[in-house]
C-alpha cells in the first residue's frame, strides 16, 4: 500500500539526509567537496560491527565508531584539506577521494570484502500504527536525524557559533578580520560532519542489518545527489533532497523492482538538473550559504 511505501521511503531517506547534510556542510562552509564522507559512513558501520562481534556493549561500540570517524576526519583535514587549500578546488577533491579508497581498502585488508551481518540490536521490535509497520531502528534513525538537523539549523541560525560558521562560509578572510578563530573552527566542522555521517552509517547498519567495506559508496553518491537536488550549500535543501531520493528509491522498487533503483534515482537527478540547474533551493547568482 502507498502509505507504507511512503513511510519506508522517508525512513530510508533519513539516512541520505545525514550524508547529504554532511556534504552540504563541507561544501557550504569549507567549499570542499569532501569525498572521504562515504568512507566515514562506512567506518561508522564497520567499526561498530567489529566491536560488537568482539562483545562490546552496544553503546560503547557505537561511541567508539563515532570517535574513530571523528579522528579519521581530523586526519582528512590535516592531510587532505589543509595541505591543498589554495590549490585548484579539484585537488582537495581528488585527495579526499584518495582517502575514501584508502579507507575502504584498509578495512578490506582488516576484515575481508564480504558483506557482514550486523547483529540485530533491537530484535524484531516494531511499531504498528493502523495497518502500517514501522521498524524500531528506522523509527529511531528518522527521529534522530530530524533532531540532529533541527539542532544543527538552530546552532547555525541562532547562535554565536553559527554566525561565526556562516561568516567563514561567506568569506574566510572577512571572518579572520572579525576575530573568528578559523584555525580552531575548521577542525570542529570536520568533526561535526564526521559525526553526522558516521551516525548515518550506524543507523544504516541497525536498520538494514548488513555492513561491508564498500557500504559507503552507494549511500555516499545518493548523499551527493541529495545535496545537489536541494541546491548545494542549503541544509534544509539537503534534507528535502535526501527524503526525495528515499521516496524515489522505494517507489521504484515497489513499482518496477530492485534493478531500476539507480535508473530512477539518477534519471530523476538528471531531469531535475536540466529543469533547475541550481537544484530546488539553490539560487542562481548568489549561492545560498547554509
Amino acid at each position: 500500500m502507498i502509505a507504507q511505501q511512503l513511510i519506508n521511503g522517508v525512513m530510508l531517506g533519513s539516512i541520505y539526509v545525514l550524508v547529504g547534510v554532511s556534504f552540504t556542510l563541507a561544501i557550504g562552509i569549507l567549499n570542499f567537496l569532501n569525498f572521504s564522507i562515504p568512507g566515514l559512513f562506512m567506518i561508522g558501520g564497520m567499526v561498530s560491527w567489529v566491536l560488537l562481534t568482539q562483545g562490546w556493549h552496544w553503546a560503547a561500540a557505537i561511541g567508539a565508531a563515532l570517535a574513530a570517524a571523528a579522528l579519521v576526519s581530523l586526519a582528512v583535514e590535516q592531510l587532505s584539506y589543509r595541505r591543498t587549500r589554495g590549490a585548484d578546488p579539484e585537488v582537495p577533491l581528488v585527495s579526499s577521494l584518495g582517502f575514501l579508497v584508502l579507507l575502504e581498502n584498509l578495512v578490506l585488508v582488516g576484515v575481508g570484502s564480504d558483506q557482514q551481518t550486523f547483529p540485530s540490536l533491537l530484535g524484531d521490535f516494531n511499531f504498528r500504527i493502523g495497518g502500517l509497520v514501522i521498524g524500531a531502528a528506522q523509527a529511531i534513525s528518522l527521529v534522530l536525524t530530524f533532531a540532529l538537523v533541527v539542532g544543527l539549523s538552530f546552532v547555525l541560525g541562532r547562535t554565536n557559533l553559527g554566525r561565526q560558521i556562516r561568516a567563514i562560509a561567506e568569506s574566510r578572510s572577512t571572518a579572520v578580520l572579525l576575530g573568528v578563530d578559523v584555525g580552531r573552527l575548521v577542525p570542529k566542522i570536520f568533526v561535526l560532519t564526521a559525526l553526522f555521517t558516521a551516525l548515518g552509517g550506524v543507523m544504516f547498519a541497525l536498520s538494514y542489518l548488513q555492513v561491508s567495506p564498500f557500504m559507503g559508496e552507494g549511500v555516499g553518491f545518493k548523499g551527493v545527489a541529495a545535496m545537489i537536488i536541494g541546491g548545494m550549500g542549503s541544509v534544509w535543501g539537503a534534507v528535502i533532497g535526501g527524503l526525495i531520493i528515499g521516496l524515489i528509491e522505494v517507489g521504484s522498487i515497489w513499482a518496477f523492482g530492485a534493478d531500476t533503483v539507480n535508473i530512477a534515482v539518477y534519471g530523476s537527478l538528471l531531469l531535475l538538473l536540466i529543469l533547475r540547474p541550481h537544484g530546488l533551493f539553490g539560487k542562481p547568482a548568489i549561492r545560498e550559504k547554509l
Binding site: Q164, A167, G179
Partner: protein, 253 residues
C-alpha cells in the same frame, strides 16, 4: 603622552613582492592618525599587518605594554585592535543584526551588547527598520554604517578604518566623517586610511604618507597640510598612473 599603538619596521611581502618595507607608525592615545598614499602604496597591507591577517616578515606591533607581533588576529581583536575593512566586507548572507552580533562574538555581556546595538538602531533608524533583512539589500552607505557598528560593538581601543568613505554619496561621506570625529571626541583612538586627503587631513591630528610601501612623510597635520613634499609623495603614484604631470589640489579647504 605615550603611544597606545606602535608599529616598528613592519615588512610584509606577497609571494616575494614586498608590499610594506620597514614601516613604523606611532599612534598616541585619543588621537586620529591618518594614513595616506596612492593606490598600491601599502595602506591596506599596513592595517592587515597590524591585525595580524597577513604574515609579517619583520617588525613589531606593540599595543600598550603588550607585544602582539606574534599574536593571531582574534587575540589582537580581543585586546582592542579593531578594523573596519576595505570595501566594508559586510556579510551579505547575514542580516543586519547578525552582522552586528558577529562583531560582538568575543564578548560575554549579552545585555550590554543588546543595548549597544539598540543605540546603533536609534542613531541609524534605517538599520533598525531593516535589522532582520539580509545586509545584501542595503545601500553602500548603510553597509558602511553596519561595518562601523559591527566594529564598535567589539569595544575597540584603537579603531582602524580602511577607506570608509570610498564610493559613498556625499551625504554618507559627511556622515562617516561626522561619526569618526564624534567617536574620537568620546576618547576613541582612530587610524584612518583615506583617499579623500582633504577631509582626512581636516579631521586627523597627525598623518603618515606611504609611498611604494615606505613611509614618505609623517608628522602633525597642521604642518603637513601645506607641505609640498606631501603633495608630491601622495600624488606621485596617481600622477604617474594617469600620466598627468599637473599636480592635483589636495587638502584645500
Amino acid at each position: 603622552m605615550s603611544a597606545i599603538l606602535s608599529v616598528s619596521d613592519l615588512t610584509v611581502a606577497y609571494g616575494g613582492v614586498t608590499a610594506l618595507d620597514g614601516v613604523s607608525l606611532s599612534v598616541e592615545e585619543g588621537e586620529i592618525v591618518t594614513v595616506l598614499g596612492a593606490n598600491g602604496a601599502g595602506k591596506t597591507t599596513l592595517l592587515l599587518g597590524i591585525m595580524g591577517a597577513v604574515p609579517a616578515m619583520r617588525g613589531r606591533i606593540q599595543f600598550r605594554d603588550a607585544d602582539l607581533s606574534r599574536a593571531r588576529p582574534h587575540t589582537r581583536l580581543a585586546k582592542g585592535l579593531v578594523l573596519v575593512p576595505e570595501g566594508r566586507q559586510v556579510l551579505v548572507s547575514l542580516t543586519v543584526e547578525e552582522n552586528l552580533l558577529l562583531g560582538a562574538h568575543l564578548r560575554r555581556d549579552r545585555q550590554a551588547v543588546r543595548s549597544e546595538i539598540a543605540a546603533i538602531y536609534e542613531r541609524f533608524p534605517n538599520l533598525g527598520q531593516r535589522r532582520h533583512t539580509a545586509a545584501a539589500t542595503l545601500s553602500g552607505g548603510e553597509q558602511q554604517m553596519v561595518a562601523i557598528g559591527r566594529a564598535m560593538v567589539a569595544r575597540p581601543q584603537v579603531l582602524m578604518l580602511d577607506e570608509p568613505s570610498l564610493g559613498l554619496s556625499p551625504l554618507f561621506v559627511s556622515k562617516v566623517f561626522d561619526l569618526i570625529q564624534e567617536m574620537n571626541r568620546s576618547g576613541l583612538t582612530i587610524v584612518l586610511v583615506e583617499q579623500n586627503t582633504g577631509k582626512a587631513l581636516s579631521v586627523a591630528h597627525s598623518a603618515t604618507v606611504l609611498e611604494l610601501g615606505k613611509v614618505a612623510v609623517a608628522g602633525p597635520c597642521d604642518a603637513l597640510r601645506n607641505d609640498h613634499r606631501l603633495l608630491e609623495a601622495y600624488l606621485g603614484g596617481s600622477a604617474e598612473s594617469s600620466g598627468d604631470p599637473q599636480p592635483m589640489r589636495v587638502g584645500s579647504q
